[in-house]
């Protein structure tokens, strides 16, 4: 078959697996940067990444050695990891460990490939980056790129004959040759590969190599949804190589199949590290299942309220403290509450509020719940504030305007900068007072019922749809009977200031948005008698004495707010008051717990807690500290987000109740006995498990190679195009998490671990579901996720090896030091030690 535009286009689109998936900052969701390589084993993907981009997939040998010396990785785990490899040449495990430790690998693994430092190639990359930034801009530049409607390549092709940069790089003659290029991207790409005499079989490899030159910008193009622009990216890059003398890159060669010994060693060390964590966690779970066999299960009438939280690792902390404070049962569930919807907040455009792997099926709007004239007045004020921002924007950027504007605005902005900096808490209080007085808050409700379609998307949900969604949510969270008088659905959000990566701290299950609105929607359904009647038909009987309430956990400050309190019937108010008091206490305890992990927080708290009794002083100082961090525009680490995440536990809360899991574990409630057909478990494996894997991978890679998979450090961040950040003035768009999400002052805060899934369900059911779901099977068999299962904890845990065999796990082979009776897991497994302010360690 000959090369033609259609085949070239197909090859180009086949090469997108080299592009790391990313999301724009406003909806930042964690993703596995090596997502396109999940069809390979983790080790092969590591090898491919190392060979093609020089990126690393494991820590440096010296890091693992340090962990070994400190006891973080023990002899036992290293022996087990080596045993799994079937290390050739030594049957004796002791000998194998000694040999492994004696052999040294050149540090760091993966840096075998040095990046080209060819000035011509750099010129090409620079040009492509420039055009991508201009093309993808979502309105940050006041002067929009002309001819954008022609696509990336089309616009460039149209303007290139006049482009002074092309004349600088290619000369006048070179620039004239642009006119010979076809105007369509696919046509041009085809012509260019023919001219370069590329073989058709090599095309995909060549194109992958091209995408890898600017992984950030190519991923932004891939995300923008127009596949023609990916073809355009390649056409632009190849065209510039053609036009700029000396820039034609040598053909990329096939990946060297020989495995880098550093990668083999890294994989063994990493395995040992993860086995250690597995043993610690299972050891702890073992103890609860043994001791608390007679503990009440979720839903017994003992509980005054049941409260469902997102599976997010941060929920583990608030759940643990809430249960310790009062008679409350908690449930873990994906924070979008199973609702595949778009939500239009009051005065805002609808945005998807469900996992990015789920297609929203309907739009729900938040509407004013007040007298029409009150609502109209508020709307007018809201619009005036918007117009004031617009006026400010235009005065800032429009021709001739900024000069006198700076002279006037400076007198306001200067003092406000000083106040924000010197008194951040007062400043944020002032700002919120100004917001409240300019646009007074108004009561709202979620309008579920079908209304006028919004932008063509179906608006609202029919009662049948509501019943089906509510049913799915209750079944998947295992809450189908034994409802407490109060059942709270609690979403979560973060509250940070001046933080481009704010969405990365919000609810990942809600596509980087706040989870509270989803909770409100579900609660609205569940309090509706018509929906309850429908659920009763499906054997879920909710007594009239049960009331559902929505809430939102603000993870930056550990405050939980109850929504729509005015709807709550009077007979529930006393219980709700008690719950709110308990949440207040739990939040204060959690904030105090987090103090030790936040850089500089202990010192700050000590400075503020003078003059009180020690116990309450620390709690109230902790509250002050977290609120300051939340509203402080100078704060680089307002909270740690999901750093430390290591495992997901799918099972009843009894399994983990009373354990301090150090906010490292996603907890998804699951009642194996109530799900005999495995429908709920299937949903969990394909939904929350996969999302957990994405989050875990994002943190993993941002932590092991922050230069390539991370977004760089916050003080250098330079928001570009409304979609991402640059580090400094230009270059490639950065992908992944900021450095301040995974390390601090050169100290690694996120210990990179691939996701460990612990599922309490019969193995046969798991096998059946894995057999049905190729994507999940692939993740398990290629070593991206480690799966451990057990049935009700009685017949012990077993790990599913990559080949599909189940190997029983026994507690006796674990290191006993971390498992003293009564000890919690937190300190043993939390890599976030006490963080002091002046703790800048030497890193060079």
């Amino acid at each position: 078959m000959s090369i033609n535009p259609i085949t070239v286009r197909a090859r180009a689109l086949a090469a997108v697996d080299a592009i790391p998936p990313t999301f724009p900052l406003s909806t930042f969701v964690a993703a596995n940067p090596l997502h396109g390589m999940e069809r390979h084993t983790f080790e092969d993907a590591a090898q491919i990444a190392a060979t093609t981009t020089g990126a690393r997939a494991y820590l440096a040998e010296s890091d693992y050695r340090t962990m070994f010396e400190s006891g973080r990785i023990s002899d036992i785990e290293l022996r087990a990891a080596l045993g799994r490899r079937g290390t050739p040449g030594s049957a004796d495990p002791e000998r194998a460990v000694a040999d492994f430790l004696d052999a040294r690998s050149d540090d760091p693994p993966g840096d075998a490939v040095q990046r080209r430092r060819d000035p011509h190639a750099e010129a090409v990359d620079g040009q492509v980056a420039k055009w991508c930034a201009a093309y993808l801009d979502q309105g940050q530049a006041a002067w929009e790129m002309p001819h954008r409607e022609l696509g990336l390549y089309g616009a460039w092709r149209r303007m290139a004959p006049r482009d002074p940069s092309l004349r600088r790089l290619a000369g006048t003659v070179g620039r004239r040759r642009v006119r010979d290029l076809p105007t369509s991207a696919a046509g041009a790409l085809c012509a260019l590969v023919v001219r370069r005499e590329l073989d058709e079989t090599d095309l995909t490899r060549e194109f992958r190599a091209a995408f890898r030159r600017l992984p950030g910008w190519s991923s932004a193009l891939a995300r923008s949804g127009n596949s023609e622009d990916l073809v355009g990216f390649l056409a632009l890059l190849l065209a510039l190589e053609e036009l700029i003398p000396g820039a034609a890159a040598p053909h990329s060669t096939a990946v060297d199949p020989e495995v880098d010994p550093a990668i083999t060693r890294g994989s063994i060390w990493q395995d040992a590290l993860e086995l250690g964590y597995r043993d610690q966690l299972l050891g702890l779970l073992e103890r609860t299942t043994g001791a608390d066999a007679a503990a009440p299960s979720a839903g017994t009438p003992l509980a005054e309220a049941q409260m469902a939280f997102c599976i997010d690792v941060r929920s583990e902390g608030i759940r643990r403290h809430l249960e310790a404070v009062g008679p409350y049962d908690t449930i873990g569930f994906a924070g979008f509450f199973g609702l595949p919807i778009r939500i239009a907040a009051l005065e805002a455009e609808p945005v998807a509020s469900c996992p990015v792997i789920v297609e929203p099926r309907a739009t729900v709007g938040e509407v004013a719940d007040a007298a029409p004239d009150v609502a109209a007045r508020r709307h007018d004020r809201h619009q005036a504030v918007e117009a004031a921002w617009e006026a400010r924007h235009d005065a800032k950027v429009e021709p001739a305007a900024p000069f006198a504007f700076a002279e006037a605005a400076g007198w306001v902005l200067g003092p406000s900068a000083a106040l924000n900096t010197v008194a951040p808490r007062a400043a944020s209080r002032l700002a919120s007072w100004m917001r409240r007085s300019s646009v007074p808050p108004i009561e709202t409700r979620m309008e579920l019922h079908p209304a006028a379609p919004h932008d063509g998307a179906p608006a609202g949900l029919s009662t049948d749809e509501q019943i089906s969604m509510a049913h799915g949510a209750l079944v998947t969270m295992g809450l189908t009977s034994g409802f407490a008088p109060l059942v709270v659905m609690c979403g979560h959000r973060s509250a940070t200031t001046n933080n481009p990566f704010a969405a990365a701290l919000d609810c990942g299950a809600c596509a980087g948005k706040a989870g509270g609105p989803n909770a409100r929607v579900l609660v609205e359904m569940l309090n509706d008698p018509a929906v309850r009647a429908g659920l009763a038909v499906a054997d879920i009987v909710i007594e009239p004495s049960t009331w559902f309430v929505a809430a939102e956990h603000e993870t930056t400050t550990d405050t939980v707010r109850i929504a729509d309190r005015r709807h709550v019937p009077v007979e529930h108010l006393a219980a709700l008051d008690r719950l709110e008091a308990a949440l207040e206490e739990a939040g204060a305890r959690l904030a105090a717990e987090r103090l030790g992990e936040l850089p500089g927080a202990e010192r700050e708290a000590a400075a503020h807690s003078t003059g009180h009794s020690p116990g309450t002083a620390r709690a109230s100082a902790a509250r002050g500290v977290v609120h300051r961090r939340s509203g402080d525009w100078a704060e680089p680490v307002p909270e740690w987000g999901l750093a430390g995440n290591a495992a997901v536990v799918v099972g009843p809360r009894d399994l983990t109740a009373g354990l301090d899991l150090g906010r490292r574990v996603f907890l998804h409630s699951y009642d194996s006995d109530g799900d005999v057909d495995g429908v709920a478990l299937g949903t969990i494996l394909t939904g929350p498990l996969v999302v957990g894997h994405w989050i875990s991978s994002q943190y993993y890679f941002s932590s092991v190679d922050p230069d390539r998979y991370g977004a760089g450090t916050k003080p250098l961040h330079n928001v570009v195009g409304g979609i991402g950040v640059l580090e400094g003035p230009g270059g490639d768009l950065r992908i992944g998490l900021p450095l301040e999400s995974v390390q601090f002052a050169g100290r690694r805060v996120h210990e990179p671990l691939r996701l460990l899934a612990v599922v309490q369900a019969p193995r046969e059911r798991l096998e059946m579901l894995i057999g049905r779901n190729a994507a999940v099977a692939q993740l398990l068999e290629n070593g991206w996720i480690r799966l451990v299962a057990g049935s009700n904890g009685n017949d012990g845990w077993a790990e599913r090896r990559r080949d599909g065999t189940w190997v029983p796990w026994s507690a006796d082979r674990t290191d006993t030091t971390a498992h003293d009776a009564g000890a919690t897991l937190a300190m043993a497994v939390t890599p976030r030690g006490a963080m002091t302010d002046d703790d800048t360690t030497e890193v060079e």
Binding site: E122, A123, D125, G126, Q140, A142, W143, P146, H147, R162, S165, R381, Q383, A384, A387, A388, E390, H393, D394, A395, P399, A400, A401, P402, F403, A404, F405, A406, E407, A408, G410, W411, L413, G414, S416, A417, A418, T421, G600, W633, A634, E635, P636, V637, R708, G712, T713, K714, P715, N718, V719, P729, G730, G731, E740, F744, A745, T840, E842, E844
Partner: protein
């Protein structure tokens, strides 16, 4: 207050920031708190000096019978401003650079830069000014180098090159002036004596003219005006607090130099012409390029290029009061925008201008609001100091700002309500306040401002107005519906993109950074 007490306060204000920075030097475990307290104490001393000028006390320091430093009203105002800006940014940096491996270098460089800029603004003698000027250059180069990543090094080298040219001119000319004239004191009356005295020449050049030209060249380099514009946008390779210090204080040094040398510039047509040319080029290039930047920080940096161009033209066309207001207000404005640049996302929105065109009625309303605002402000304030061509051009810029803001407001509000009247009242109030402030400050500063008859005031102001009109015309052309965008606007866009391309300025830009 007695002279020695005043002298002590002046000494504290000038030395403490640098001492605080030096105490942090080389000690990476330091949090920067000590340096910040040191700067804050210096600020307190400066505030005392500011208050004491109200009682007619002027702090000064002489060496023998030569006046070296003098905290006159102009000096003390800028002193308070520079120290306040540095103190605020240092407080910010204590938190925002908490995890930065090179934070001690930020506190060192910002402390030394604050001390030397403070010295610059109160320097009363040519040699003092030159020494302070050179120290600012060195501190800036260190500030930009930060942790020594390749991009930061490239940015630092860029600045060093630009400064080397400007500073060499200044030093050589100062030497020449020293040899021919003797000590040159920058007090307006004494400068007059040099100008009106027997003409000193160096070869065919008059020393006064050379001095003026050197000041202009040094100022253009420091203000990042063409042809020395590229170092400033590259400087965003340094962390956010460094940018804030740079844009709030350091770049204004050029304006300070031009105000101090204003009497000399007033008699030198070539130097004034170069300053006007550089200033207008800065307005043109800076505005155009900043409008094409899709990233927040270089967008802000290019906008500073334009703002500095505007300020330099104000300086050399006799609008010293407005130039000072501009320096201080723009410094605060830009520092805020840099420190808050992480909030960009919340404010980004696609251009909806095409969706709600203003129409003839809207345009008329915009003109009315602008004319009424400026008219009321003029009648209330009666700024006699602005009754000149440059003054009227300046007022025209105020009107342009009101008009653009009004247009933005109206486009976002298809339906009218009482709130629109409130907004119009706010526009009038803001315009009046702005004009009143500029006038009051000018009156207060009168004793320390040189009286000059600028050489090319009318021509300079006219060129500035023309430049602004050109920018407006090109942007109007670019706004035409897609497909009809004229070739001229397209060329202007391509040139702006090319000039602002960091990969052109520093080719290493496209390479991902790999630490360790």
């Amino acid at each position: 207050m007695t002279a020695p007490t005043l002298g002590l306060f002046l000494a504290l204000a000038l030395t403490l920031p640098a001492l605080g920075g030096l105490a942090t030097a080389g000690r990476r475990r330091r949090s920067g708190r000590a340096a910040t307290w040191s700067t804050a104490t210096a600020l307190l001393a400066a505030v005392v000096l500011l208050v004491s000028t109200g009682f007619g006390d002027v702090a000064s320091w002489s060496l023998g019978d030569q006046l070296v430093l003098q905290a006159d009203r102009l000096g003390v105002l800028l002193l308070v401003f520079v120290l306040a800006a540095t103190a605020v940014v240092q407080v910010y940096a204590v938190r925002s650079l908490r995890g930065d491996v090179a934070r001690h270098r930020f506190f060192l460089a910002s402390g030394v830069a604050a001390s030397s800029t403070a010295t610059l603004v109160v320097a009363a003698d040519l040699w003092a000014i030159v020494a302070a000027w050179l120290m600012v250059s060195v501190a800036t180069v260190v500030l930009l180098r930060h942790d020594g990543r390749p991009v930061a090094r490239a940015a630092s080298r860029r600045a060093a090159t630009a400064f080397a040219v400007g500073d060499t001119a200044l030093v050589l000319t100062a030497v020449a002036a020293g040899v021919t004239v003797g000590r040159v004191t920058l007090r307006p009356d004494e400068l007059r004596l040099v100008i009106d005295g027997p003409e000193q020449t160096l070869g065919v050049f008059g020393v006064v003219g050379l001095l003026a030209m050197a000041a202009v060249i040094a100022a253009l380099a420091r203000c990042a005006l063409p042809p020395a514009q590229s170092w400033l946008p590259m400087s965003v390779a340094a962390p956010t607090p460094s940018s804030a210090v740079l844009h709030a204080g350091i770049v204004n040094g050029g304006g300070v130099l031009l105000i101090r040398f204003a009497p000399v510039l007033g008699v030198s047509i070539p130097a004034t012409a170069v300053a006007i040319g550089g200033g207008c080029a800065g307005v043109l290039v800076g505005s155009a390029v900043s409008r094409t930047r899709a990233d927040v920080k270089t967008g802000l940096a290019w906008s500073t290029v334009a703002q500095m161009g505007f300020m330099v033209v104000q300086c050399v066309t006799g609008l010293l009061g407005p130039a000072l207001v501009h320096m201080v207000a723009h410094g605060m404005y830009k520092a805020n925008l840099f420190l808050g640049s992480g909030s960009t996302l919340a404010r980004t929105h696609p251009d909806h201008r095409g969706d709600h065109p203003l129409g003839a009625g809207g345009t008329a309303l915009v003109v009315v609001v602008a004319v009424v605002s400026v008219g009321v402000a003029w009648v209330v304030v009666r700024p006699s100091s602005l009754e000149s061509v440059p003054g009227l051009v300046f007022v025209g810029f105020i009107a342009a700002t009101v008009a653009q803001a009004a247009a933005g407001w109206l486009r976002a509000r298809p339906r009218r309500s009482l709130l629109d009247l409130g907004a119009a009242a706010a526009a009038v109030a803001a315009t009046t306040a702005s004009l009143a402030l500029a006038t009051l400050l000018k009156v207060w500063l009168e004793p320390s401002l040189p009286t000059v008859e600028p050489a090319l005031a009318t021509a300079g102001a006219a060129l500035l107005a023309l430049t602004a009109l050109m920018g407006w015309a090109v942007s109007a052309m670019a706004r035409r519906p897609a497909g009809r965008s004229s070739a001229l606007a397209e060329r202007a866009y391509l040139w702006s993109l090319e000039l602002g391309d960091p990969a052109r300025i520093a080719p290493t830009m496209a390479r991902p950074e790999v630490r360790s």
